[in-house]
Amino acid sequence: MEAVRFENVKFLYREDGDYAVNGVTLTVGEGEFVAVLGRNGSCKSTLAKLINALLVPSEGKVTVFGMDTSDEKKTFEIRKNAGMVFQNPDNQTVASIVEDDIAFGPENIGVPREEIGRRIDFALDAVGMQAFRHMTPSRLSGGQKQRIAIAGVLAVLPKIMILDESTAMLDPKGRREVMDVIKKLNKERGMTVILITHFMEEALEADRAVVMHRGEVVMDASPEEIFSRAEELEAYNLTLPRAAYISKKLAEGGMPVKGAFNAEALAEEICASLQKA
């Protein structure tokens, strides 16, 4: 079943402005892990906000499990199904204690008290933060704060998790922590994940990558395929993942390596080519 569907969606921030999103048609299947790539100003965040009705399309239609986001009666139900984690970990916690913050979502949708307790347990388990239940978010590291934000979204039990550049402000360790949690949610719980990012390495972990450029979807394929079209990517001001870049340069220099996208694959390719030589 399809989780999210964009039908020729256009969006204007101002009446007299240009289209921020200009005719996007896109479907995301249930359980899929989609990375949305694009340079700054490609309006990939706008795309994210269109999914959970924080923004409503100026033209066209966005549906989440068949519910139209422009139907105000459905807004609540859509947000219950499509949770969203934002960029700045400091700006999305409402409470001063971890468990109170995670309780915020379930409280909003009227979950009974005992059930909220169980959901906090479940959410903290899923992000591996049980030990921090009674701590203050402001004392945690960026990666930990962001995992708490994910737990806060999980406690509402959404089917879709949208991450709007949620790793952009984290250090490499925090980024790894968050990515591990997201991948686990996708693999073990069948969570549909829409990951907005400008880190190419992260896109490699997705099933599918979508490239946005000036409000339009310009590429939509598996990450491997997208990264094998280096020239095209360059035109959209995107770079290759480091390993892919190195393997491309090696190939150009005459070393018989096939396109490798991560460090392990690259190492194997190099070894293989050395043995051949």
Partner: protein, 282 residues
Amino acid sequence: MLNDVTFGQYYPTRSFVHNMDPRAKIVFMIAYIVAIFVADNFLALAAVTLFLIVAVLFSRVPFGRVLRSVKMILFLILFTAVLNLFFYSSGGEEHMIWQWKFLSLSWESVVNMIFLALRLFLLVMGTSVLTLTTTPVALTDGIESLLTPLKWIRVPVHELALIMSIALRFIPTLMDETNRIVAAQKARGADFESGGLIKRAKAVVPILIPLLVSAFRRAEDLGDAMDARCYSGAKGRTKYKKLVFTWRDLLGLLLLGALIAGVVLFNIYFGGKFGIIDYFMQ
């Protein structure tokens, strides 16, 4: 320089006082403040002090930590004390020490000053015991619950409580931000340490404006994040933390009754605060 603010800083020890119902604690606090201002002689104040000491002991918060909250307003206490020392006129001529034009110094004003300083001291200590032992969330929950009757006259109690808890939650974040901005402005050569009062006040502007801008940006982000987490006002909302009145609160209530009774009795039997002068003069 900004990290010393003890206000609104929770000190977790899971003690007796921590586990009390925040509503009960708020009521105690109000009664405690009333007791401070009803107390009219040193014995009554001593009773209040005893109550405070008991409360701190039961809270297992180190005394030093509680005292730190006084440090913040030490200047205020000293300032009011000194003003009172010279401007307080009791009318009585017999205990006058020194007089010059409208300034006068008498034993009455000395006693009055000490009394006032003690009152302020107890006031701040007491309120910080409340904030040290109660999470801001519990505190706002307590206030919300106590103000529930106001919902009948359409006061948005839930919204007000939420505004308060979010404000409290953002204090450390904005503190960090302020430190960052100060450092950034210093790096560009801003000077916050020299010059007169006006120059220094002007130097604060380049800190306040970026802080304000960023606070608005944060508010917008937070609004989106709250929307995304299905926030839609008080209607249909449940509460995870339920407030329960227990034996602890009853015990506290009894102690409090004893305090009020003690203060009133001391007031009646030992007269006003100036009695101490006659006692020493005899």
